[in-house]
């Protein structure tokens, strides 16, 4: 319990440090985020837009963003009655008032109409779905392949699974993804292209995303199993006459799985925050694209937003794994 609390208290501090580092780096990137096409607005218009987004000074931006993102401004507006006044004004004009968010991550500079919160809320569930499915597939394939390999080390089955694992790790997903898309969607026509929201549309992207993870899990499981199968308690179990199936699944796997479990934390955070390549090949509206595009566009608000989300997820998943760890193996303190 105390561990969980301590981690949760640490989280804001970690985020503050990450925010400061990210902004410093992103601010130093050359280029003007407000110049979005070949057409350059007049100097007056550019100055006005800079003032609008507080891009004139680093510290001005730093504190104003912190004020909005930390929830301080939200609390102040609520207490001072400013929020109520705005809602009143909107009601008088007959329209819904602007959304108020506790942690307001600001507007996107490249997509002016969108708040970063909305963009993240829209794409995070997509990435979580694909990432979740990918991790599920990776677990099933990886653990099964690892167990099969470890049962008869250096057999044909072992080399076969190792080879597949090697291919899975080495082949970049733009190759596997494109080949899968070509075969299953274009040639065979079994699965849809550029569609999102159905189970069918989920298959190819999550399978592609799962391959490198599956390969890594297979290797972890195999190593763990070989190690465990040599240990004394397994010999004892076999001597007692426990069936081979029970030896492997009940006794050995439980211990061999622990390295996999600790890998699952960062891996799930990675998978669930999206992959730029997989999203591009399969036209998946996920989070991964923003990591790359935000930097190319020098979209400061978006860069900080995605980095903060990724950091939060990384911390939370590692915490979840720690909790699972203790639960699976009560010996660990």
């Amino acid at each position: 319990m105390r561990v969980i609390l301590r981690r949760l208290v640490q989280l804001p501090v970690i985020l503050l440090v990450i925010y400061t580092l990210t902004l410093t780096l992103a601010w130093a990137v050359p280029g003007n985020p407000l110049e979005r096409s070949e057409r350059r607005p007049s100097a007056e218009v550019q100055a006005a837009m800079k003032a609008r987004y507080k891009l004139d000074s680093f510290w001005g931006f730093y504190w104003s963003y912190l004020d909005n993102a930390s929830g301080l401004k939200w609390a102040r507006d609520g207490l001072s009655g400013k929020a109520a006044a705005e809602a009143e004004k909107a009601k008088r004009l007959g329209v819904a008032p602007p959304a108020r968010r506790v942690f307001d991550l600001g507007p996107s500079l490249q997509y002016e109409d969108w708040r970063v919160n909305e963009v993240l809320m829209g794409s995070l569930p997509v990435s979580v779905t694909i990432g979740g499915a990918a991790m599920a597939i990776a677990l099933v394939i990886g653990v099964a392949a690892g167990v099969v390999g470890a049962m008869k080390p250096n057999s044909a089955a072992d080399f076969g699974t190792l080879l597949v694992a090697l291919v899975g790790v080495s082949l970049p997903s733009f190759v596997t993804g494109t080949v899968l898309l070509l075969v299953f969607s274009v040639w065979l026509g079994w699965l849809p292209v550029a569609e999102w929201g159905t189970l069918r549309a989920l298959i190819l992207p999550s399978f592609t995303l799962s391959l490198p993870f599956a390969a890594y899990i297979a290797r972890l499981t195999r190593m763990g199993m070989i190690e465990v199968l040599k240990s004394d308690y397994i010999r004892t179990a076999r001597a007692k006459g426990v069936s081979e199936r029970d030896v492997v699944l009940k006794h050995a796997l439980k211990n061999a799985f622990l390295p996999v479990l600790s890998y699952l934390g960062p891996a799930t955070a990675m998978a669930m925050t999206g992959s730029f390549v997989v999203e591009r090949v399969f036209s998946v509206p996920g989070l991964g694209q923003h990591f790359v595009n935000a930097v190319l566009n020098k979209d400061l608000f978006m860069i900080i937003g995605v980095v903060l989300v990724f950091s939060t997820m990384l911390v939370l998943f590692n915490l979840a794994v720690d909790v699972l760890y203790r639960w699976v193996d009560p010996r660990i303190e």
Binding site: G31, E112, P125, G132, P285
Partner: protein, 627 residues
């Protein structure tokens, strides 16, 4: 064992949960790709062609472009009719009575005044403020408010700031009424007086940043900042169900970078002409996946074919036309437009590709400052040198062997044949002999003593291949040494702005149907004059054209200006762009082949679905102008 299955179970539960909540919609009548998601739908702020296209579908301006008229005539929009006074400066627009916004609120002439005022304010400026400044007093108004805001900021903090900011805002409103000659005389009459006669004024009125916005919505999403005295605006009112529009469609759904869904509006005055009930604007970012999405039927209309193998697709399209050479020739003689020709030929997947000349020019900028950024003398300061370099480039080789998509090699800046009544100058010829002579005259015989020329360009879209071809021409024809420099687009733009380059790639797409939209970017004080070209004669010609009331004489002066520009060669035109559409001409109609590439989405019609006029739309043939 079951403990080990826990992570798996949790993952699967998440997947099923999200899928259950997030169901896709039914397929729309037309699914189109519009080159990525819209950057903004805030009418005052729009500037990209893709955004303009959607704004044009959701809103209605004073007038609309007739995109199937080669001369780009104007059709009535919110204005039923209009007249211009004899001096060419005072315009009166009569707003259609009994029209409503998509929420049923009545539409009035005052809505235009509010919208254009917003674009003029330095707090919420339009990128096209310069065009709004054509209205008498508008420039003065913007300048006045900018100064007042600066003054307000200097005064610093005080207890009465909120009151002072409000007072300044009230004063601003009054100032607008006093000086800007833009008035809603009554709810149905809009009168404006311009600084000078502007022959393309109607074209600007049809231009999307000039469209009206719904006042209560915008006002609810802006507030006065007491610290700065500025209006602080948010743009997130452009989302359904909030958004209120007055055009052929209404916005029913917008999922960021996923899908935008437009449905026919029941409040649009011309709803009978709307050919489809719904459009979905999908987002497929990968250029090759866009083609796959079309081939598998997920997408009906791709407005910008950019696949790596698009040149091959264009070659196949040409091969298909060649197989029907005699029929094609007959239809061309008759004046049929390229899309119509494809539709009348037997169905063939190769004919789903439509390469069409565009209203844009690909060029190279020369730095025209006397000194280079590193302090050396700049040989390109001498117009003879620039012209010599321009004449040494084999443009035909670039379009035919490098680009291969049917681009038109061009020695002029304003795309030929794109503006009614404008006769383009002869242009810069490909003449290596004359180029060498000119370079020798300038003091560099055989390229001796010339600096190493660096070509700056951004890293995508095959700019490197063109730079290689230009390098080869300059090195072999002029005897100079050329190096290539690739950078990220944002950094290239920064360098251009700082004039930190020797030669740099550039391009320009016109905004309105007048040569000025290309020429004014070389005016000495223009913000887009990356070249720092500074010619009193050229500026004087633009000024003279501005003061000329007779349209034909005015165009003649502009032609002189373009000639002057090409003689001085601050830029080196390479070719006129093509835009490649992808759609099945036997299935979809209403796509205009006009070089301006403005599409009226309400004219799209799926043939054979029983909805809309069900009649193929063809380019009118009244034309002096070749489409």
């Amino acid at each position: 064992m079951w403990k080990l299955l826990m992570p798996l179970a949790v993952l699967l539960a998440v997947v099923v949960g999200v899928l259950a909540i997030d169901r896709p919609r039914k397929r729309a009548d037309v699914v189109m790709l519009n080159g990525g998601d819209a950057s903004t739908l805030d009418v005052t702020r729009v500037s990209w062609q893709q955004d303009n296209r959607i704004v044009g579908a959701l809103w209605e301006g004073l007038v609309r472009n007739d995109v199937f008229d080669p001369a780009f005539g104007k059709l009535p929009g919110m204005a039923e009719r209009w007249e211009v006074a004899a001096d060419g400066k005072t315009w009166t627009f009569h707003i259609r009575a009994n029209t409503a916004w998509s929420n049923g609120a009545p539409f009035t002439a005052g809505d235009f005044v509010f919208s254009w005022q917003r674009g003029l304010l330095p707090d919420t400026p339009s990128d096209y403020q310069g065009q709004l400044h054509l209205i008498k007093g508008a420039r003065e108004f913007t300048r006045w408010r900018t100064e007042k805001l600066a003054e307000f900021a200097r005064e610093g903090a005080g207890a009465e700031r909120a009151k002072e900011a409000a007072a300044l805002w009230a004063e601003t409103q009054k100032k607008f009424d006093d000086v800007v000659k833009l008035k809603a005389v009554d709810d149905w009459t809009l009168v404006m007086e311009l600084e000078r006669p502007v022959p393309y004024w109607l074209d600007l009125c049809a231009f999307e940043p000039f469209y009206p916005i719904y006042r209560p919505l915008v006002e609810a999403y802006q507030s006065l900042n007491p610290a700065t005295g500025r209006i602080e605006a948010r743009s997130d009112w452009t989302r359904p169900p909030l958004l209120v529009t007055n055009g052929p469609f209404k916005l029913v759904d917008w999922k960021f970078k996923r899908e935008m869904r437009l449905e026919k509006s029941e409040h649009y005055w011309n709803r009978g002409r709307v050919g489809i009930d719904s459009i979905s604007i999908a987002v497929v970012e990968d250029r090759n996946a866009q083609v796959v999405a079309f081939q598998t039927g997920a997408v009906d209309f791709n407005t910008d074919l950019l696949a790596d193998y698009r040149a091959e697709m264009v070659q196949q399209y040409r091969a298909c036309l060649a197989e029907h050479a005699s029929e094609v020739a007959a239809m061309e003689a008759e004046g049929a437009d390229p899309i119509t020709i494809s539709r009348r030929l037997p169905a063939d997947p190769r004919l789903n590709v439509h390469p069409l000349p565009a209203f844009g020019t690909y060029f190279y900028n020369f730095n025209c400052l006397p000194k280079l950024p590193d302090g050396r003398e700049n040989p390109f300061f001498d117009p003879r040198v620039r012209r010599a370099f321009s004449m040494a480039v084999d443009r035909k080789n670039i379009t035919e062997n490098v680009r291969r998509c049917g681009e038109v090699p061009s020695g002029v800046l304003v795309p030929r044949g794109s503006i009614g009544g404008y006769a383009s100058p002869a242009g810069v010829p490909y003449d290596p002999e004359a180029a060498r002579k000119l370079l020798a005259e300038a003091g560099y015989p055989g390229g001796k003593g010339f600096i190493t020329v660096e070509i700056l360009f951004n890293r995508d879209m095959g700019h490197d291949l063109i730079a290689e071809a230009v390098k080869k021409d300059w090195e072999s024809q002029l005897g100079v040494t050329v190096t290539l420099k690739q950078k990220e687009i944002k950094i290239v733009r920064e360098d251009l702005k700082k004039h930190d380059f020797i030669v740099a790639r550039g391009s320009w797409f016109g905004d309105y149907g007048d040569p000025l939209t290309f020429l004014e970017t070389s005016r000495s004080d223009d913000g887009n004059n990356d070249r720092s070209y500074n010619s009193k004669e050229f500026d004087a010609l633009l000024e003279a054209a501005g003061n000329e009331a007779d349209p034909a004489k005015r165009l003649a002066i502009l032609k002189q200006a373009e000639e002057r520009l090409l003689d001085d060669s601050p830029l080196l035109p390479v070719f006129q762009y093509v835009e490649i559409y992808m759609f099945d001409p036997h299935k979809l109609t209403g796509v205009s082949p006009h070089p301006r590439h403005k599409q009226q989405l309400f004219m799209l019609d799926v043939l054979g679905d029983g909805k809309g006029p069900e009649k193929p739309v063809e380019m009118k043939r009244n034309a002096q102008v070749r489409p």
